[in-house]
């Protein structure tokens, strides 16, 4: 086409792309109204939405224990923690909206199974020790994943993650403290902690995703500096951090291959069952159906509140 307008658009496109690449190469942040490749935008929307959904669904496994917490102190802590998860979800939905994603559409995508959330929240919380282990291991793994995201290339996502990470540190410490209290209790309490560790250890390692060789989108996300470390690097970092903490608690991590490797300067450990991870992600985990059903019910039961608030605002002329 010789039409000048079209020619101008192409020029603008090339200029936008050059500026985007320059921004990424200089390790500066991309901001909402900057030109960005559609694939970059789509990758971020998918990742941020999945992250937001994880926070919201993640309220359920622990939320189930709020009414059954063994003391007022534990109840208040757990309540605050679950409220934080809601907050994290909202920070992240806000970040996704800066990319042009529609909030109501994101909720629909979750409920209809078109968008995923972290596989870890499809496992049940059978005892109160699970609350401690989720804080210690699951939130510990989340911190490993999330700290590098504070420097991710998309500004609003990075800024949301800075707030999330500050709050996660409370989550992990309360979990460890809970377990530390239990392991100094009765034999039955120690057994309860060990049982929870046995059940959560492998699903926690799966949180880092498939091994690098089977993670096809990783390279592109690394090139865009959305992601800064590979799945296997982060998994290793988490194991190295956690083993001494487990020793201090006096619990055994259920992996016969786990041992210090002085040559590598890291712990060697066994591979999680990635076939199980694929099954749980595909919807066939112990609690997938229940988690989504519960979220759908909360959304439907809240519909009249949303409508009433809109009507009230409309009547007051806002």
């Amino acid at each position: 086409m010789v039409d000048g307008r079209r020619h101008g658009d192409d020029e603008e496109f090339a200029e936008g792309r050059a500026r985007f690449e320059e921004t990424i190469a200089a390790d500066r942040r991309v901001e909402p109204r900057d030109w960005m490749p559609e694939a970059y935008r789509a990758t971020l929307v998918r990742q941020i939405a999945q992250h937001a959904h994880s926070e919201i669904i993640g309220m359920q496994p622990e939320g189930e224990w709020i009414t059954r917490a063994p003391s007022l102190r534990r109840k208040a802590i757990l309540w605050a923690k679950v409220q934080d998860e809601a907050g994290h979800g909202l920070y992240l939905y806000g970040a996704a909206e800066t990319l042009g994603a529609d909030r109501a559409e994101l909720t629909r995508a979750l409920l209809e199974g078109r968008q995923k959330y972290s596989s870890i929240f499809n496992y049940p919380t059978l005892t109160f020790a699970d609350v401690g282990v989720i804080g210690w291991l699951v939130d510990g793994a989340a911190i490993c994943n999330q700290v590098p995201l504070c420097r991710t290339s998309y500004g609003p996502y990075a800024r949301a993650m800075v707030r999330v990470c500050k709050e996660e540190s409370f989550h992990q410490r309360q979990g460890f403290e809970l377990l530390w209290t239990m392991v100094r209790g009765t034999e039955a309490q120690r057994a309860m902690v060990q049982d929870a560790v046995d059940r959560w250890w492998w699903p926690t390692l799966m949180m880092f995703g498939p091994p690098d060789a089977a993670s096809p989108n990783s390279a592109r996300s690394m090139a865009w500096r959305v992601k800064r470390h590979s799945n296997d690097e982060l998994r290793q970092r988490f194991v190295d951090m956690t083993v001494p903490q487990a020793e201090r608690l006096g619990v055994t991590l259920p992996d016969e291959r786990l041992r210090w490797n002085p040559e590598r300067g890291h712990y060697d450990f066994g591979a999680p069952d990635f076939a199980e991870l694929a099954r749980v992600i595909a919807g066939d985990g112990p609690c997938n159906a229940e988690r989504v059903r519960r979220r759908a019910a909360a959304h439907e039961e809240g519909a009249w509140v949303r409508a009433a608030a809109r009507a009230h605002a409309a009547r007051r002329g806002e």
Partner: protein
Amino acid sequence: MAEEWPLFEVFLRGRRGLNHVHVGSLRAADARMALTHARDLYTRRNEGVSIWVVRSADVTASSPDERDPFFEPSGDKVYRHPTFYDIPDDVPHI
């Protein structure tokens, strides 16, 4: 009536003596609800002593392009900076 509550931008004053700073956004039915939601969402740990909320649709913004001619007027005025002026080293307090 739109199905969705409108989007608001949230600004926090961390403590007295500081400006309000943009911290993020949220959805609320009206400005009053936006304020209470902002309190619950952005100040759970005493991060603010004052909150502003503004409907996102009411924000007028310049182009995101840092090289935009919009900012050119200040580009060539080096004499607006104190370092532009040569003053003998032995002149005190300046």
